[in-house]
Amino acid sequence: MSIIRYQTPELAAWPSLDRWSNLRDELNSLFNAPFWAGVGRQQLFSGWSPALDLYQNNDSVIAVVELPGMGKEDVEISLHDGTLMISGERKSEASDGEKAERTERYFGRFRRSITLPTRVDANKVSATYQDGILTVTLPKAEEPKPKQIPVN
């Protein structure tokens, strides 16, 4: 691509035009780069993310997620490397012959992940779903006892 159609020899010698050609080179390099180079992972995932609160007490870490109008079977909870991931899908009930006057609710897939502040016991995780609120309780892992090393 080129935006300079015609150049007289004198004009081309102008130092200010060098700046234009630098800019042109930069623009060209942008177009030559792979299109996804500047796209973050967040933008590639086109879902919605529900509000999440996290609590911590002596025994456990508790995640509270606002998920109104879900089916229990449509929520997935997983734990991997100290990161809690909550994902799922809210199905739309729209049908033919209807006209949406106002749509502020989100439908489709959602995903939230949060790094837990402490180690938890993956085998003791429990979850409840009531009034559109998902509560995930993650009991803390037993801390390994500090090992005493006697000095001889």
């Binding site: 609160d53 007490n57 559109g132």
Partner: protein, 120 residues
Amino acid sequence: MNTTVRPMDGRQTEQFVAPAASVIENGNGYTMQVEMPGVNKEGLEISMEDNELTIIGRRSLPTIEGALVHHESPREDYRRVFELDSSIDMNQISAKMDQGVLTMTLPKAEHLKPRKIAVS
């Protein structure tokens, strides 16, 4: 959208957030869905005056012991006012609450519903 309601008798002011809502129209009327996570049937107040429908949802959140280390959801109760279309039959409005979603059915008055005329 968020509102502050100052009661006349000088009680403490109430802060509300506006819940997300969807309104769908079909031939027989409107179906409205309002998202109010943390609100159950007992926490709902629905009132109608003239052609204004006011919905208030009071949260009954589970009390969790511990320190809040990450916070995104608002603590305020929900309140939203809708202006109703004059075609709606006020006496036939019904409401249902399920998992934090209020679904209201607002049928049109019988004489305003679309009808087919059979040609004989």
